[in-house]
């Protein structure tokens, strides 16, 4: 069995990551199909699925966000595997995190009702990445699932995702944050120079109201800080657990290959468990023309056959060049399997398409 097949049958967590526009969501869903067919109760967490794929997964417009929906039409034979899908809602996940980490409703409400919190919970840079991981942790620790698959948000710097827990800890350890929140415990005025300058800068730039809200936000956050730090540590450990598997998805375009290389290096360097590389959207290689035929077909006058010959040459040229782009990725993938998937004649947008793709993956 390849490490990807092992992951589908044994891993508890799986993450698909890679540049935007290469078919991460489709790959995640197809891996989910494979796991369900192997008898596992599986949930796929996605961020921004294309509309028709979302419909196929039961995540259409009417579906409630942040709740798992069972995907119909997955034939699992005699075993009791199931596939569910869930659309990530960063704000709701953030809210749930705050509630979980608060010791009472009052503490939680202090954070949740703060206007600064309300503004940032959906838009804080990196919040989506962190929340994808946080939701993964929530689902994983619920004990309801054999396998949780997370389709990570598209990101130019996909590595951001892996560092999200550390960034949260870094934020909580920032001197300004410490000074602002320490003031509350001592009921003292803010005497720290850096912190008072920070507040002054915010006030000058954005007005007095936001200063109040900011201090309020940071202080209310302080109540749940211990929990947030603990959670960040757990998540960080979970991502490196032996039952976790990272799948890198790319396309043969040079920009995507460049990003995938960067990601593979980072996974390796930071010791995240890597289980396989999927290269998607590869143009099919036409059958070559024999020398004799090529000679006969050279220098045709314009006409339908010239269209055929030009198209054959162009597609061949692209298919050859794409395969050359992949050589470096193949080296970086090492022992892990590399699955090359053709650019299909039409996008995958239904369950039979996913079932077909899952058979190509494992």
């Amino acid at each position: 069995m390849t490490s990807l097949e092992v992951a589908v049958t044994e891993a508890k967590l799986m993450l698909t990551c890679g540049p935007g526009g290469v078919g991460k969501t489709t790959t995640a869903a197809a891996l989910g199909v494979a796991a369900a067919q192997a008898g596992r109760r599986t949930v796929v967490v996605t961020v921004d699925p294309a509309r028709r794929l979302a419909d196929a997964l039961g995540l259409g417009d009417d579906a409630e966000a942040d709740e798992p929906h069972q995907v119909p039409g997955i034939t699992t034979g005699a075993n009791d595997g199931e596939l569910w899908a869930l659309m990530l809602d960063a704000e709701q996940t953030f809210d749930r995190l705050v509630r979980d980490q608060s010791s009472n409703k009052k503490q939680a409400d202090a954070v949740l009702n703060n206007p600064v919190y309300q503004a940032i919970s959906g838009s804080l840079s990196g919040a989506h990445e962190y929340m994808a991981i946080e939701r993964l942790h929530q689902l994983h620790s619920s004990g309801e699932w054999d396998l949780v698959i997370v389709d990570t948000p598209p990101s130019r710097h996909a590595i951001d995702l892996l560092e999200a827990p550390d960034r949260l800890v870094g934020f909580l350890g920032h001197p300004v944050y410490r000074a602002l929140t320490a003031g509350q415990r001592a009921f003292a005025k803010i005497t720290d120079t850096a912190a008072s300058m920070f507040l002054w800068a915010v006030k000058r730039l954005a007005g007095p109201q936001i200063v109040e809200d900011t201090i309020g936000f940071f202080r209310s956050l302080a109540n749940i800080e211990g929990g947030l730090r603990k959670r960040a540590k757990e998540v960080s450990a979970l991502l490196r657990d032996e039952n976790t598997a990272f799948i890198v998805v790319s396309s043969p375009r040079s920009e995507a290959v460049g990003e995938a290389k960067h990601l593979l290096d980072a996974l390796h360097e930071k010791k995240f468990p890597f289980a396989g590389l999927v290269v998607n959207l590869i143009h099919p290689m036409p059958e070559p023309l024999t020398d004799e035929d090529a000679l006969l077909l050279a220098d045709l006058d314009d006409g339908p056959l010239a269209d055929h010959v030009a198209w054959h040459a162009e597609l061949t040229q692209l298919a050859v060049a794409e395969r050359a782009e992949l050589v470096e990725l193949e080296v970086l993938a090492g022992d892990a399997p590399i699955i090359e998937l053709p650019l299909l004649e039409v996008d995958i947008h239904d369950v039979p398409g996913l079932i077909d793709l899952s058979a190509r993956l494992v």
């Binding site: 540049p19 935007g20 526009g21 921004d48 294309a50 028709r52 600064v116 503004a119 940032i120 838009s123 948000p153 598209p154 990101s155 130019r156 934020f171 920032h174 300004v176 120079t193 920070f198 002054w200 800068a201 915010v202 000058r204 730039l205 954005a206 007005g207 109201q209 936001i210 396309s251 375009r253 040079s254 099919p284 036409p286 059958e287 023309l289 024999t290 004799e292 035929d293 006969l296 077909l297 045709l300 006409g303 339908p304 056959l305 010239a306 269209d307 055929h308 010959v309 030009a310 198209w311 054959h312 162009e314 597609l315 061949t316 040229q317 692209l318 060049a321 004649e345 039409v346 996008d347």
Partner: protein, 319 residues
């Protein structure tokens, strides 16, 4: 029909990841410079290699020349730079005449902390810097290669979004000035890019609705990138096609040509269908750019795309 290239002072180029929006932005810069415009190319979240593609060295945060006399003696200059949020912040403080104390405060606090307290601030600072460059007439045309993936809309929305949280102070003024620039088609327009496939076209329609209709940003022609050239001959089987040329194909030749043609027919059909769908959904004219048979574009490929943009006759143009 190339007036649109330099119709507004700032062009924000946006599209989902993987559709080639950075490449189209570069081709737009090249095409405008070939017509004599001095162009500043701004890589907001630039991928490596863009400076080289435009004939110069790697783009960094200092405005530098990539090419002069682009395309001949009458050609303009292409300059490029990136705008890191920290730098935009520093420049902004300087511009506001904020002296040492606030600047020290800012550095002590560090931008990430302030940005955490003021959502969208980083984007706004970058847009604010672009607005300054536009107002100072630093170039005939400023091309902004906007952040990719889902980030183009939040980037452009930062100005209107911030005013929900920030009720006073220079940040609010900045947000209003940026909103004014975005809403004025003589100063700023958006160039949206997609591929001729179902999902990218759907996302382009959504982005056009969001930027054009919700945010009030005027849209240039919609660019459908990487379109295969139409080859009507593919509709015939290789054997039928050969008959019109009075050639008899071997069985192997028929089979080889058909192995490529089957794929080509379905791609071309999909391409036609998706462009029609876009034309039905949006009133803007549509420009198609050719797909080049390489996964790695070089300067010569960019020339081809620039020529295609400059000579494009937008489909359904009403202006």
């Amino acid at each position: 029909m190339t007036d649109w290239l330099t119709q507004s002072s700032v062009v924000v180029v946006a599209g989902k990841g993987g559709v080639g929006s950075s490449t189209v932005a570069a081709a737009h810069a090249l095409a405008a410079a070939q017509q004599g415009a001095d162009v500043l190319f701004i890589a907001v979240d630039g991928r490596p290699g863009m400076g080289e593609l435009l004939g110069g060295r790697e783009i960094n945060d200092r405005d530098h020349v990539l090419q002069r006399k682009v395309g001949g003696p009458g050609g303009g200059t292409i300059r490029a730079r990136s705008i890191p949020a920290e730098q935009a912040f520093g420049d902004y403080l300087e511009l506001k005449g904020v002296g040492g104390l606030l600047r020290r405060a800012a550095s002590a606090a560090s931008l990430p902390m302030i940005a955490a307290a003021t959502p969208g601030l980083e984007h706004l600072l970058v847009l604010g810097k672009i607005k300054e460059l536009e107002r100072d007439k630093t170039a005939d045309l400023i091309i902004v290669d906007a952040p990719p993936a889902g980030h183009a809309a939040p980037f452009l929305r930062s100005a209107s979004g911030l005013s929900d949280v920030v009720k006073s102070g220079p940040v609010l003024d900045q947000a209003q000035e940026v909103s004014e620039m975005l809403a004025d088609p003589a100063r700023c327009m958006a160039l949206l890019v997609a591929l001729p496939e179902e999902t990218p076209i759907t996302e382009m329609i959504e982005l056009a609705n969001e930027l054009g209709d919700d945010l009030g940003i005027s849209l240039l022609p919609l660019v459908v990138n990487a379109c295969w050239p139409d080859r009507p001959g593919l509709d015939k089987s290789p054997a039928m096609a050969a008959r019109s040329h009075k050639i008899k194909l071997s069985a192997s030749a028929k089979s080889s040509l058909e192995s490529a043609a089957a794929f080509g027919r379905s791609r071309l059909a999909q391409q036609r269908e998706q462009i029609e769908r876009l034309a039905t959904a949006r009133a803007e004219p549509i420009i198609t750019l050719p797909r080049l048979a390489t996964p790695r574009l070089d300067a010569a490929d960019l020339e081809l795309l620039a020529d295609a943009l400059a000579s494009a006759v937008p489909i359904g143009a009403t202006q």
